[in-house]
Amino acid sequence: MTQPSILLEIDQGVAMLTLNRPDNLNSFNVEMHEQMRDAVSKVRKDSSVRVLVITGAGRGFCAGQDLSDRSVAPGQEAPDLGESLEKYYNPLMRSLRDLPMPVLCAVNGVAAGAGANIALACDITLAARSASFVQAFCKLGLVPDSGGTWTLPRVAGMARAKGMALLGDKIGAEQAESWGMIWRCVDNEALMEETMKLAKHFASQPTKGLALIKRALHASASNTFEEQLNLERDLQRMAGRSEDYREGVAAFMEKRTPTFKGK
């Protein structure tokens, strides 16, 4: 039996999703896309999950699209790359972004093309010191996809986004950290330990409140200040009705550690 392209383990509130085509640097083909979609949908539907961790098997994180799936012979009709975005990458990016829980990414090695943009779109991204980010698209005559042209200017600023997208240079994890593109760069051997430490932390936090924070931050990209103030009012209204808020206040008054249920 062939190995699944995506591994998903759910344990004590932590969903661990591993991109698992290590011989191909975990690059996406149709099969992996379909398994990824099922895994993310399972995470979304499982109310016990309070944090999702995404990482890659083997030495790479994700090399983006598997180009052997896409070779174009001379004289052959141009492929419709838009279709593969419409069908696979865009729904994936939307579903990851909409997950009502923190999404951690442990970038264990090279993150190229769509792989880089998936890593950068996660809520908290940690990278091993030897990991790197490459916007390889420009070298093939393509445009950064999977939200890259949206995410890059926001995480790195326009000047660096343009440098990365137009030059396609490899950006090391330390550089990515100092540019503010990721949360932290850690030693290679400490990557999974640090990631799991954060995952366990999130598994005990007020998940509903965290999901609302994500919504507010995402919306800030297109809202005016006035609209954002209104949104904060609405989200706070919802947060105030959560069980965890009651528990948080009660624990504070009683000077004890709160026990959040994520509801």
Binding site: R215, L231, D234, L235, R237, M238
Partner: protein, 257 residues
């Protein structure tokens, strides 16, 4: 059999109708449409009800008509379709209707939402007229109300391709007046309805009628209608009360007279 239309209220002058066919994404079969139409009869007759809210679930306002039911009707069946009368009943309802749309409002669901006087939607809402994909077309105002609300370019695009639009596009195009967090859509709609329920009822009724005339008449006739309605209000006690309360810096106490 569980009731496919939940009715709540009136409370504070507002009645809330919740489409409740969760297994069918609130598809509007004739029974549901009939229940809604009868519920509106009651709401019209009840002086305590000043406005109504129509909503569905978080997932779907209404995802269309009932396809099985539709398929069972031949030409004669469609000519004698009881649904036409239900739609007309909804259209003729004289009190304000606020639609609170979360999730799918497709086909008949989109048409129902467009019957409302005010439509607000959750950020997750999707509006569309996908009938064309089934070899049919909108049959309850989808081609007419849509073009008046969003303009011909977008209406043609939606009706001919069947592609839905999201809440942002709907707001931009003028199909809805506000986007909310999905969890708060119904609450917002109720707030709007309550606010209307506190106004002078005759003024509300004539204002609704007058605004709707803008779609049926040319400007000169519309202006004449408006002037006439404006004059009619002059004979009401509530007009006097409204003006007095404003001058005396107090809250008006409207009686509907």
């Amino acid at each position: 059999m569980p009731n496919n239309l939940l009715v709540d209220g009136p409370a504070d002058g507002v009645r809330i109708f919740t489409l409740n066919r969760p297994d069918a994404l609130n598809a509007l079969n004739t029974e549901l449409l009939g229940n809604l139409s009868r519920a509106l009869d009651d709401a019209e007759a009840d002086p305590e009800t000043r406005a109504v809210v129509i909503t569905g679930s978080q997932k779907a306002f209404a995802a269309g008509a009932d396809i099985n039911e539709m398929a069972s009707r031949d030409l004669v069946g469609i000519l004698e379709d009881p649904r036409v009368a239900h739609w007309q009943r909804i259209d003729r309802f004289p009190k304000p209707i606020i639609a609170a749309v979360n999730g799918f409002a497709l086909g008949g669901g989109c048409e129902l939402a467009m019957h409302a006087d005010i439509m607000i939607a959750g950020a997750n809402a999707r509006f569309g007229q996908p009938e064309i994909n089934l070899g049919i077309m909108p049959g309850a105002g989808g081609t007419q109300r849509l073009v008046r609300k969003v303009g011909e370019a977008l209406a043609m695009h939606m009706a001919l391709t069947g592609e839905p639009i999201d809440a942002n596009r709907a707001l931009q195009a003028g199909l809805i007046s506000e986007i909310c967090q999905p969890e708060l859509t119904v609450e917002k709609a109720i707030q709007i309805a309550r606010s209307i329920a506190r106004k002078a009822p005759i003024a509300v009724k004539l204002t609704k009628e007058s605004v709707r005339k803008a779609n049926d008449m040319n400007l000169a006739e519309g202006l004449r209608f408006e002037r006439h309605a404006f004059t009619v209000l002059a004979g009401t006690a509530d007009r006097q009360e409204g003006l007095d309360a404003f001058r005396e810096k107090r809250k008006p106490n409207f009686t509907g007279r």
